[in-house]
């Protein structure tokens, strides 16, 4: 399917990442946004609101983030493409209903423009410390898809991608931007609608009384039905069977939970997207995502200039994690360098998937700004020069950390 021309504001804009997210959502056909103001994501909601009359969308500023996410789930079951936009503290507040969304297999998109944390932290500074939370933040077992854009242009494109994945897999998709990308103003090209691939929800077409909301075909993803069309939907956050009925005291094997997880795990290869640069001959690979991948580029150039063979692997989808590719590379290289604006999150995952085959060096950063490329460069040198296999993941001591710990 192509995007609806009425939803696409084709042209070349000079806008920030937040606004690009709003344009992306509208182009993807998002017709419902519920949100609550929070720095640094507010500009996205504002930009969306301004366009609502033109595209027939609804924006409701709810009383809080809990209300927002619940409204989003409801609107999705009413047949709209939906999203909410938030940042760290708001993201923590929506955790309960992320679980509900995953349990009742609802397509929706969550935009998290990450800031410095924990708690109120630094609202106007960048952070990447909610990455593990996007995967593990709600109780119980579930799987989600997480994307990380590194520029306003990608913020636009990935938002569309997020909607497509949400609709294809009936799953919550998180777009984990960060304050830098959200507030960075760059050129964003919005192509004509005919060039934008948009996926729409698969609706059930059979007999109304034979519809089971969680009954899967071969593809693991059950088709949806809208509320109010005579299906008599019974949707519950309790663990349920194909019909949607709670199983409570019955055998867990009847539950559809496992299938709702497998639809992501077994399709991981199709979902995962990476961007690799000069990885083939690399001795060291820098694994990064979001704004950090742009800073890493500078460090990579510095290293290449000194003759070090460095490649870059950028995570477009952070979850599901590209387990296989990391394992493959780990056998060939001298080390991974993982810069993140946190004290180690995705680095642990890289470490896990390396199976002790190579060194993994985390370049930590507390947040509020981006890395100094010198630090990443330092970690690359450390990886090349390492004489032995480290017993565990090591953290590169950045200049700022040295200064603080004395």
């Amino acid at each position: 399917m192509k995007a609806n021309p009425g939803d696409v504001f084709t042209g070349s804009y000079y806008i920030d990442g937040d606004v690009a997210i709003a344009y992306g959502a509208i182009a993807a056909g998002c017709k419902f946004l519920a949100g609550y103001p929070i720095t640094p994501s507010t500009e996205a909601a504002e930009a969306f609101t301004k366009r609502t009359p033109e595209v027939g969308a609804i924006f409701v500023q709810m009383e809080d983030e809990l209300g927002s996410i619940a409204a989003v789930l409801g609107a999705s079951w009413a047949g709209k493409k939906v999203m909410t936009i938030t940042s760290g503290p708001g993201f923590s507040l929506i955790m309960e209903n992320i679980g509900l969304g995953a349990a009742i297999e609802t397509p929706f998109v969550v935009i998290n423009v990450q800031r410095g944390g924990p708690s109120t932290g630094i609202p106007t500074g960048a952070g990447q410390a909610d990455m593990m939370q996007s995967r593990w933040g709600s109780h119980g077992d579930y799987e989600v898809i997480t994307l990380a854009p590194d520029s306003p242009q990608e913020a636009f494109e990935f938002t569309i991608k997020a909607f497509n994945l949400a609709e294809r897999y009936r799953v919550p998709v998180m777009l984990m931007a960060d304050e830098c990308v959200g507030h960075m103003t760059e050129k964003v090209v919005v192509p004509p609608a005919s060039e934008i691939e948009v996926e729409n929800r698969k609706y059930y077409g059979g007999a109304k009384d034979a519809y089971f909301p969680f009954k899967r075909g071969a593809g693991l993803v059950p088709p949806m039905a809208k509320a109010g069309e005579g299906y008599g939907l019974y949707i519950t956050g309790l663990t349920h069977d194909e019909e949607g009925h709670p199983i409570l005291d019955r055998d867990l094997k009847e539950a559809t939970l496992r299938a709702s997880i497998d639809k992501i795990r077994l399709n991981a290869d199709k979902i995962i997207e990476l961007k690799e640069d000069r990885v083939d001959d690399a001795e060291v690979v820098v694994v990064s995502y979001g704004i950090t991948s742009r800073v890493a580029l500078k460090a990579i150039e510095m290293a290449r200039k000194e003759g070090i063979k460095v490649g870059a692997l950028r995570l477009v989808t952070v979850w599901p994690f590209p387990e296989k590719r990391i394992a493959e590379l780990s056998k060939k290289i001298k080390g991974f360098v993982v810069p993140e604006i946190n004290y180690g999150q995705i680095a642990f995952e890289v470490d896990r998937c390396s199976h002790g085959n190579t060194n993994v060096i985390l370049v930590p950063h507390g947040g509020a700004s981006v890395h100094n490329p010198e630090d990443i460069f330092g970690a690359i040198k450390q990886a090349v020069e390492a004489k032995k296999r480290y017993p565990q993941l090591v953290s590169y001591k950045t200049a700022l950390e040295k200064q603080i710990s004395g």
């Binding site: 103001p37 720095t39 609101t49 500023q61």
Partner: protein, 281 residues
Amino acid sequence: MAMAEKGKVEEKHPMEQLLRMDRMPHIWCPGCGIGISVTAFVSALKKLEFDLNKMCVVSGIGCTGRVAGYIKLDSFHTTHGRAIPFATGIKMANPDLKVVVFSGDGDLVSIGGNHFIHAARRNIDITVILVNNFIYAMTGGQVAPTTPETAYTTTSPFGNFETPANIPQLAEAAGAVYVARWTALHVRRLEKSIVEAINKPGFSLVEIVAPCSMYYSRINRLGAGIDMMRFYHENSIIKHDEPTENLAVGYQKQIIVGKFIDRERPGFIESNRRWSAEAKG
């Protein structure tokens, strides 16, 4: 010159003993009404007859949420919407303390709306000072639960169509024992109300209608803070004991101020003690 410099340092504002002067200048914009709310609060504190070491201030998030950081008492800057439950915990755990919640309209009646209702219902002995500037100012001017109908904000770019909350009515319905509203212009009366509210056992609320000179006024072209103060001067009317159902605030319409509720109701701790005593026999 040196003399003059020295003289400058020695100049001490009479409120300084109750302010964190090492945090000044504060973050509020020129013409903002939160600063006046703070001066009224500090003047009220000076009139109170108990040990201020036994008082603490809890704020949530937002422009008014920063108040806790400037008052030199034990003070807590907590999460968005949760100042009231945080204060409830303090008060329950140590009933000897006086606890004041100082926060904004979005913080207390939108995201914190549920806690506002339940603290009033339980009649927890805390004082809530609520600065109502009709907008989310900290995040740049989004529509608030108090934004009057037709007013513009960044998320109601075509004019607000939602019915705003009538805060005194909400407080009364939920069970508050003291409810007053003043504008930032009525500083002396405000000060007096704050003293009364703090001295009143139970859940007391003082709403302060205050100018947001940066976002609300700019988006709606209402001029500077002083222009909004002039508007209050001309359009506010004191009506004590006015039924709270009449207290909705329209866009640039008359604002009724005064003391509306002053009643007695058993408080949470009192009831709790009575019930425990009875239960034990």
